[in-house]
């Protein structure tokens, strides 16, 4: 059995950050120096995190590719993520990965990049933003629109704080609730409403979408209406992933194994399968 593919490798929690009441970030380092030296991931890929005695869960990689540490920003929703939330810095968990096809960074070179995320959907996009900033000159305009349902749901606050002031990024935040917190200086309304005022050169633009499926579909449709090609719109999907190897069958969406062919798909390919109940 190959380590990191079929067999989890031990990874130590170097740092633990509480993002919101229910969202936390684990900063991991592989214990085995040789595995750590060879570990490479592409923005948008995911790892299977393994908590001994509890099980595995697929979590997207939100790290800065330069740092050599592997960040995962996680929401407490299932048995594994709830148990992971209890771990302090210094604890050791297991990791397999990276898996799947991430964001098409080479295709984004020379183009304007529109990133639209909802809630914790921003996590898989973080590594894409870092990849852009690492080689900023290769990309055109970069817009990041992040929407949350409640203002207390905003994760990665320190990164957003940094990016909001970044001269080379156009970042906007939106909150859905009608009475946001007193300290919410940004937009009130669905993240999609931010798109209305967004400057867009459709032929120059590539879009990365990540969030609830309905939100991504609505955003993709809006972009198509404004002239962006469906093949230039990319969505990161979520499905039940247990093996991450395209074998266990749970993540199937039509002919696709989301864990292997995705999680990132272009809208021309995946659009016809979205919004159909039970497919």
């Amino acid at each position: 059995m190959r380590p990191l593919i079929e067999l989890p490798a031990p990874a130590r929690i170097v740092e633990r950050l509480q993002e919101t009441e229910t969202i936390f970030t684990l900063r991991l380092k592989l214990e085995d120096a040789a595995l750590a030296a060879h570990y490479r991931f592409a923005p948008g890929q995911f790892n299977m995190l393994y908590l001994p005695g509890v099980g595995e869960a697929p979590i997207s990689i939100a790290a800065d590719p330069r740092a050599g540490l592997i960040d995962h920003t996680i929401r407490m929703v299932g048995s594994v993520t709830r148990a992971l939330a209890q771990l302090p810095a210094g604890a050791v968990i297991g990791l397999r990965g990276p898996f799947g096809r991430g964001w098409p960074m080479p295709a984004a070179e020379g183009r304007d990049l529109i990133i639209i995320t909802g809630g914790l959907g921003c996590a898989p996009s973080v590594s894409a933003v870092h990849a852009v900033l690492a080689q900023r000159a290769r990309y055109g305009r970069v817009v990041l629109l992040e929407g949350v349902r409640h203002c207390r749901d905003l994760a990665l606050k320190s990164r957003f704080a940094e990016w909001l002031d970044h001269p080379d990024l156009d970042v906007q935040l939106a909150v859905c609730e009608t009475n946001p917190c007193a300290d919410w200086p940004w937009h009130t309304g669905n993240v999609l409403t931010l798109m209305d005022a967004m400057e867009l050169k459709p032929e120059r633009s590539l879009a990365f979408l990540c969030g609830p499926e309905g939100m991504m579909q609505a955003a993709a449709e809006k972009l198509v209406q404004r002239g962006v090609q469906a093949g230039d719109i990319y969505l990161s999907l979520e499905r039940n992933m247990q093996c991450a190897l395209g074998l266990c069958g749970h993540c199937q969406l039509g002919p696709h194994f989301v864990c292997r062919a995705g999680p990132v798909f272009d809208y021309a390919t995946i659009g016809p399968l979205l919004g159909k109940r039970g497919v």
Partner: protein, 364 residues
């Protein structure tokens, strides 16, 4: 069948001993617990001599026959899947250490098996799973050295449709191939390994009449089948039919029990399970067969991808007959008929797909 030999019934034990002495565990059909299924076998007397199996939707019955043949029945209750893709497979064992944990990978370590009397449908299913589990170390550990003594089928059940699935009744890939006649078997060599194995038996060549009789019997088995699948790659046709009312109609009868998926020799879905010891110091991570009819198959934290039985049946059928082509270049159905025999509601896949695809294409 250019160079065929004849193996009299009385010398089947010589073949079994030969296979055993070559280091294989012999697996063959046996009558146990009211069904004929593949099990470990030591002597030819353990074969289901003189039995016939009646298989129709929702029904399996064994009957005594006038003839004393060993293979006068069709698909065994279960295919060869559990012998290579184990129903429960431990993947690793964990032990906590002072500074973390250690994992010990689990890999099967058993003698290779030789299957005596492997049906064409079951060999086709093994070939389908070979494709899926090509890089799976657990599957390959069991599969790589396996030997197949095929049985070209002469007694299909009413549930069989291998002819239309393009997989039988004659097997296409084997080490040795048998066709049963009244007094023994016409035997073909399908691989150098198979040839070497039977050399010491010094069998006589089959006569032209024996060869003719064997070919006629297999051709008759093909002609006898009444059930059929629509031909070819059905992916596009089925994808156009996702709103067909038949899915709701079949869901009125389907219990979502998952028997079809457990009896199917190609279904590969599996779930992973972590079992911890009471003291929390050790754990075992395993995989076990799962079913797309189960509540947890499409379960995500926050939502259920396929809450309704109609959606699950549609997923199963459209995957098996349609999307499998895009994934693995073939149909997921080999025509063994087990899904309809073992369906407690007697749902017939061939009838359902015919109703969905109907006379006219969907969505036009």
């Amino acid at each position: 069948m250019t160079h065929a030999l004849f193996l009299p019934h009385a010398r089947l034990d010589d073949l079994i001993r030969q296979v055993q002495s070559a280091g294989y565990r012999v697996i063959g059909p046996k009558l146990e617990a009211g069904v004929i299924h593949y099990a470990e076998l030591n002597v030819a007397a353990e074969l289901p001599w003189g039995w016939q199996a009646e298989q129709t939707p929702g029904r399996y019955r064994l009957h005594r026959s006038q003839q004393t043949l060993a293979f006068a029945w069709a698909a065994p209750a279960q295919g060869l899947k559990p012998w290579f893709f184990a129903p429960v497979e431990p993947l690793w064992r964990l032990r906590r250490t002072p500074d973390g944990f250690g994992l010990e990978p689990c890999l099967p370590d058993a003698k290779p098996i030789a299957v005596l009397g492997a049906r064409a449908c079951d060999l086709a299913a093994v070939a389908r799973q070979d494709r899926i589990l090509e890089h799976d170390p657990h599957y390959q550990a069991r599969r790589q050295d396996a030997l197949f003594i095929a049985l070209h089928c002469t007694h299909p059940a009413a549930s069989c449709f291998c002819t239309s699935a393009g997989t039988g009744p004659r097997a296409s890939r084997f080490d040795l191939g048998l066709t049963e006649l009244d007094t023994g078997f016409v035997l073909e060599v399908g691989s150098p390994r198979g040839g070497k194995l039977i050399e010491p038996l010094a069998l006589a060549g089959a006569t032209a009449d024996q060869i003719q009789a064997a070919q006629t019997a297999v051709a008759a088995a093909a002609a006898q089948q009444t059930r059929r699948l629509p031909a070819g790659d059905l992916a596009g046709r089925l994808a156009a039919c996702i709103d067909h009312p038949r899915w709701d109609a079949v869901a009125q009868r389907c219990l979502a029990c998952g028997n079809c998926t457990q009896a199917c020799p190609t279904c590969f879905c599996h779930a992973r399970r972590e079992t911890a010891s009471a003291d929390g110091q050790s754990a075992e991570h395993s995989r076990h067969w799962d079913s797309c009819f189960g509540e947890l198959h499409g379960h995500l934290a926050g939502f259920q991808v396929r809450p309704q039985t109609a959606q699950r049946y549609r997923q199963w059928l459209t995957h098996k007959l349609g999307n499998w082509w895009a994934q693995f270049g073939a149909s997921g159905c080999v025509g063994c008929g087990r899904c309809l025999t073992w369906c407690p509601a007697g749902i017939d896949l061939t009838e359902e797909v015919a109703a969905v695809l109907g006379e006219a294409p969907c969505g036009r």
